[in-house]
């Protein structure tokens, strides 16, 4: 508030009403003037608040973040480890999709491993030393980008599978997909170099240690660049990539009209919509936060709301690391088959260990041809049907 407004504010509103309500009795006024409290009263008691206090937000984060991170950690670790085992078990016949899915699961696992560290950091402080500060920061950024990029790779794979169906399996060899996988990890690692270089331990007041990114004099510029980079590479690029590939798939399916088309369309839409629903609110909040840094938004109240929003939307976005393998289970037929195989073997072993001789032979679980023909309509199968 400019000075002239402040004076107007004090003169017009606060002075008459507040004087009547709380001002000391007339007899004591001269004394107050002498020891300067009158001046102090006029100018500083009614001076608009310049201090923005956010203790409530920090207290909220100290409880909310560790609880939510623990939830994502347990779900993410359990779900992704399970998928890792299923995928490794089916190593004999690994296709391109499975290579990407394996890498997605590994990225998710690496990401969830960092969550307990952030939970402790939010609840208490960073008590793990500077080396772990650098390692966990680097791991966080690498795995975050890795898991998002591999979603893009999977949409590319599905696109090649459907739109370039005839030549895909010959041309897009597993060597090429391994090259792409290497490229994705390289880019993700390069994007985390700033974390490795600038992450430092800093001791705050009351001995609290924090894991900081210390960019020195260029802090504000770096902060904006990194936020822009995260929005561009971590949201806009993958969203457009997925939207493009799945739209092309939808176009092909609409023209060819194979069996199970509507279900395949619904599944493709589910992947894009889920990605947007989980990452969208977080990225919009990040954008508004950047507007604050550019001093477009200046209100303390807005800032407080954005801080709450950022804590909540970011945590929701982290759910993607638990949900993505399950989503792809719905979409990819072969994964379902692998899962079925693993479950059958597990059940068989259970039955054997319970000393109940079983008629279900091992070869039953591999009767893939029959299974594929009788399984519910899915994108891959529908197109195979149509190609005939």
């Amino acid at each position: 508030m400019p000075f002239s407004d402040t004076v107007k504010f004090i003169g017009k509103v606060c002075l008459p009403s507040n004087m009547a309500a709380t001002f000391p009795p007339a007899s004591s006024a001269p004394t107050s003037l002498e020891n300067t409290s009158l001046y102090d009263y006029y100018y500083f008691e009614n001076f608009p608040d310049t201090v923005c206090r956010k203790e409530a937000i920090l207290s909220f984060g100290q409880v909310f973040l560790p609880i939510f991170y623990s939830l994502v950690f347990v779900l993410g670790l359990g779900g992704n480890l399970f998928f890792l085992i299923v995928l490794l078990y089916s190593a004999r016949s690994r296709r391109v999709t499975e290579i990407y899915l394996l890498n997605l699961v590994v990225s998710n696992l690496l990401f969830t491993i960092t969550l307990p560290f952030w939970g402790v950091s939010a609840a208490w402080h960073w008590g793990f030393g500077e080396v772990l500060c650098k390692i966990i920061c680097t791991l966080y950024t690498t795995s975050l980008y890795g898991s998002i990029f591999f979603l893009g790779c999977m949409s590319l794979d599905k696109y090649l599978d459907v739109v370039h169906a005839q030549t895909h399996h010959r041309q897009w060899t597993s060597a090429k997909s391994r090259l792409l996988t290497g490229g994705v990890w390289t880019v993700a690692l390069v994007l985390s170099i700033p974390d490795l270089v600038f992450a430092r331990l800093q001791e705050g007041p009351s001995g609290r240690q924090n894991c900081h990114l210390d960019f020195g004099e260029n802090g504000p510029v770096w902060k904006l660049v990194l936020r822009f980079q995260q929005s561009a590479l971590g949201f806009i690029l993958p969203l457009f990539t997925m939207a493009f590939f799945y739209t092309r798939i939808v176009c092909v399916l609409t023209v060819l009209r194979p069996r199970g088309r509507s279900r395949a369309l619904w599944r493709a839409a589910l992947l894009v919509v889920t990605f947007f629903a989980l990452w969208g609110p977080y990225n919009i909040t990040l954008f508004l936060h950047s507007l604050q840094d550019l001093q477009v938004l200046e209100s303390c109240e807005v800032s407080k709301h954005l801080d709450y929003a950022l804590q909540v939307t970011e945590s929701i976005a982290f759910l993607h690391s638990c949900l993505s393998p399950f989503l792809y289970l719905f979409v990819h037929h072969r994964l379902k088959k692998h899962l079925k195989k693993v479950l059958e073997v597990i059940f068989k072993r259970c039955r054997e260990s319970a000393a109940h001789p079983s008629q279900a032979s091992y070869s039953n679980s591999y009767s893939t041809d029959q299974e594929e023909m009788t399984s519910t309509g899915n994108l891959e199968q529908s197109l195979q049907d149509h190609r005939i």
Partner: protein
């Protein structure tokens, strides 16, 4: 006095600016006689400021780059 801006690494949720920051600065010099103490806001704050405490315990944000603030801080340091 430093103008460095530092922010926490990792998730932004863990990465909030410190609990007490300056949203605005006082636009006119505050006489020294009304002030008792001061402290700088955290480096994680978006706007680097100094919080002046008045005799009535009120906290006011001031721009540490301003000449009058520098003088006030010097005198408060001597006084304390």
């Amino acid at each position: 006095m430093s103008s460095l801006i530092i922010f926490l690494a990792g998730p932004y949720g863990v990465n909030m600016e410190n609990s007490i920051c300056c949203k605005d600065f006082v636009r006119f010099p505050v006489p020294l006689k009304f002030l008792t103490n001061f402290h700088f806001t955290s480096k994680t704050c978006r706007r680097q400021g100094v919080i002046l405490t008045t005799v009535k315990g009120r906290e006011i944000c001031a721009d540490p780059q301003k000449l009058w603030v520098k003088n006030v801080l010097k005198h408060l340091l001597e006084k304390n």
